[in-house]
């Protein structure tokens, strides 16, 4: 037995159980809950290090028992697993385990065998999270793909307007060589089943009902009936005009069936002013989008031009301008954050290029967690029923926000994965999931990742200049790594489709080299099916102002004038 100081231990191997890490420049701290690494036998690659023959490598392991890839000594922050110091083992592009890597010949408790064919990456001092799942993306232009990856998004679920089938085929062909999983939700634009059959056959994972294509009660009912029969997702942007339906009519049309309600704060579209009433409905899985999160002093003013230009309106038409102003109600944006804090809104997604910023999906989630932590410490949150545990409140001198961070991380990882029937593949780093892993330096958490592994291989990252003697020499910029290059990317990325699609026919028609993976388990979900954001909230909404109350208390956060993960990190 030998002794080393606490400080030297962390310098060599990173954080361990009980240590706290501050995430970026936020007010958020996570505490390492468990350390699974092998004390004394930590696998380390390098000069005078031990990841070699006869040491922490099991030389007899070549073949099926050894890992393909090892990421050693990271702090995993995962919405399902928690905060764990561990080694990540990868086999065949999927997570083989979050545990203890090395050689069982010389170490006890090895569950991840390092062999001569294992490719090691050193993660000591880094944080690993599952790649974010952005479940509301309009693929308006392909320019959104690079910012998505640079912000740690590795799966996108689209939000309609990708149809019809020939257009879907082009989008899928264009995404083919990018290291991102994709599932296309096609717009539901008619009541006949043949048109929906054709969309599923073309590779759709589900349908988007959008008021700009019609969000009528009979269409909602029809699409949900079809979805229940064909196991596909339905995402909903309701009728903001009240042309065909008001909130009660929409709720009646949903009829307690599972639906993913988009931008339920309503500013992104839908019933004015009370769309937020959907948070009362257990079968409605609610999300809200990047531009209103967190609620800031400029949120309302920027939304006028955003809505005007996004929805085909004209500044020359006074009625169009008035229509937009009706929709931009500060009161409901003020309630959005508290409803996320309650867990009644479970998902954050970007609404990329249809009023949202795809590279900020994770960043905004962490900014919101920061803002809502401050709200919990203000009188504004007093007396509101149903607020979840906040460790930092319990013991401000020994503060950590682990459950808060996990709840907000879940909003961009596991919750959308459950909602879209892809949680067996993405959204967490549990065994068997695709090894879509984002590695962060703690100081840059949530804003600028170091490295993105896609399907178990480095696919994107802050790569340095290519002539340099070392990697990551300045200027470092986000670029495709080997796993993100054409031909390589499809080996680590999948297209999500439904079980109703003839996958071999579709693969032939698309000429894809990607795996086509069916979604499943997504009908019959309720709020309680989600991982960490399960609340329903019996809110009262003022029908004139949109102001929201819960338990007789106003539900509102004041707009912020400054957010973390921003000015310190971004050039201008």
């Amino acid at each position: 037995m030998t002794r080393i100081s606490a400080q030297e231990y962390r310098e060599r191997y990173g954080a361990t159980t009980g240590d706290r890490i501050r995430l970026g420049d936020t007010n958020l701290w996570v505490r390492v809950q468990e350390d699974r690494s092998a004390p004394g036998d930590e696998p380390i690659w390098g000069y005078a290090k031990n990841l070699r023959m006869r040491m922490t490598q099991d030389d007899s392991a070549a073949g099926p028992s050894e890992l393909d890839v090892l990421i050693a000594g990271v702090v995993v922050i995962d919405p399902v697993l928690g905060v764990i110091k561990a080694d990540i083992g990868i086999k065949d592009g999927r997570i083989a385990g979050i545990g203890r890597a090395g050689s069982p010949l010389i170490s006890d408790g090895i569950d991840l065998v390092v062999g001569p064919h294992t490719k090691p990456y050193m993660g000591y001092g880094l944080i690993a999270t599952p790649g974010a799942v952005d479940s509301h993306v309009h693929t308006i232009t392909p320019e959104l793909l690079a910012p998505a990856l640079s912000g740690g998004v590795t799966t996108i679920i689209t939000a309609g307007f990708e149809e019809p089938p020939f257009a879907m085929e082009r989008v899928l062909a264009g995404v083919e060589d990018w290291p991102l999983n994709i599932g296309l939700q096609a717009g539901a634009r008619a009541l006949d089943e043949e048109h929906m059959d054709a969309l599923l056959a073309a590779g759709a994972v589900g349908f988007k009902i959008h008021e700009d294509n019609g969000a009528y009660p009979d269409l909602i009912d029809h699409v949900l009936r079809y979805a229940d029969a064909h196991e596909c997702s339905v995402s909903l942007h309701t009728d903001g005009l009240h042309e065909s339906a008001e909130l009660e009519d929409t709720v009646a049309a949903i009829g307690s069936r599972t639906v993913h309600a988009y931008h339920v704060e309503g500013v992104g579209g839908g019933h004015v002013p009370d769309l937020l009433g959907l948070v009362r409905e257990p079968s409605v899985l609610c999300s809200s989008t990047t531009p209103t999160l967190p609620f800031g002093v400029s949120t309302a003013v920027e939304h006028v031009p955003m809505i005007m230009l996004n929805h085909g309106l004209s500044y020359a038409v006074p009625d169009d301008v008035a229509l937009v102003h009706e929709r931009v109600l500060p009161a409901r944006m003020a309630a959005e954050g508290p409803l996320h804090e309650l867990g009644a809104i479970g998902i954050i997604n970007s609404d990329s290029q249809g009023m949202g910023r795809i590279g900020e999906t994770t960043r905004r989630a962490m900014q919101l967690a920061h803002v809502m932590k401050a709200w919990r410490r203000s009188s504004a949150s007093e007396g509101i029923p149903g607020l979840p545990l906040d460790e930092g409140l319990a013991d401000p001198d020994d503060r950590d926000d682990t459950s808060r961070v996990l709840r907000y991380l879940a909003k961009v990882t596991i919750e959308p994965s459950i909602t879209h029937g892809i949680a067996d593949h993405v959204g967490s780093l549990q065994v068997g999931r695709l090894a879509d892993i984002v590695l962060w330096r703690p100081g840059f958490f949530g804003v600028k990742p170091e490295w993105i592994f896609k399907g178990g291989f480095p696919a994107w990252g802050a790569l340095g200049e290519g002539n340099a003697s070392l990697e990551r020499s300045e200027p470092t910029r986000y670029r495709a790594d080997w796993g993100g290059r054409p031909e390589a990317a499809p080996k680590g990325a999948v297209n999500f489709v439904t079980g109703a699609a003839d996958r071999s026919a579709l693969a032939r028609r698309l000429g894809t080299r990607r795996a086509l993976v069916p979604v499943r388990g997504l009908r019959g979900l309720t709020r309680s099916s989600l991982a960490l954001n399960q609340a329903t909230a019996p809110v009262d909404i003022d029908i004139r102002t949109g102001a929201v109350a819960l338990g007789g208390r106003p539900l509102a956060v004041a707009p912020v004038s400054e957010v973390p993960l921003s000015r310190r990190y971004l050039l201008r």
């Binding site: 962390r10 002539n467 990190y569």
Partner: protein, 201 residues
Amino acid sequence: MHLIPWEEERIQLFAAAELARRHRAAGLLLNHPEAVALICDAMLEAARAGASYEAVEAAGLAEVEPSEVIPGVRELLTEVRLEVLVGDGARLIVLLDPLGRGELPDRFGPGALVLGDLEDREVNAGREAIDLAVTSQSRRRIRVSSHYPFHRTNQRLEFDRAAADGFRLDVPSGAYIGWEPGETKIVRLVRVAGSSGKAAR
């Protein structure tokens, strides 16, 4: 011009540094990319003017005062890695903690790690241990790392090899012990764990 990628990349650094200079001149505190760009640009310019490797390093370290950055940027800026063209060609320069000026970082700054347990850590606890005298007969320095099977070490180390079979050095993973020519050291070995450790028992 026939600009190679190297040159284009340095134009990118220059553009970022110009922007940062403008912001600094306007009295704005610098953010992380601005500070990195200024430090890189100072080194590239010093190298262009013919400065030595050491003078280029010094120019990088002197370029940005800690008081000129947004609080917290110093803690984010742990390293700058840059290749510059000095007189004898392209050279790598690595500046560690370039805004530190010998001061300790903010314990609670961005990305801070606060230890939950300040106790010394025991490594290799509970393993069978033996002490062996080991003498080097080499004319050169020898180093042995934590997990090298000790009985297989360089033949110029003299010790009871039979006793050492199944053992390795009792040092932290990735650490090592060195012998100068002719030096004798008493080292503690621990039996490896895992299946080979069990087989030996």
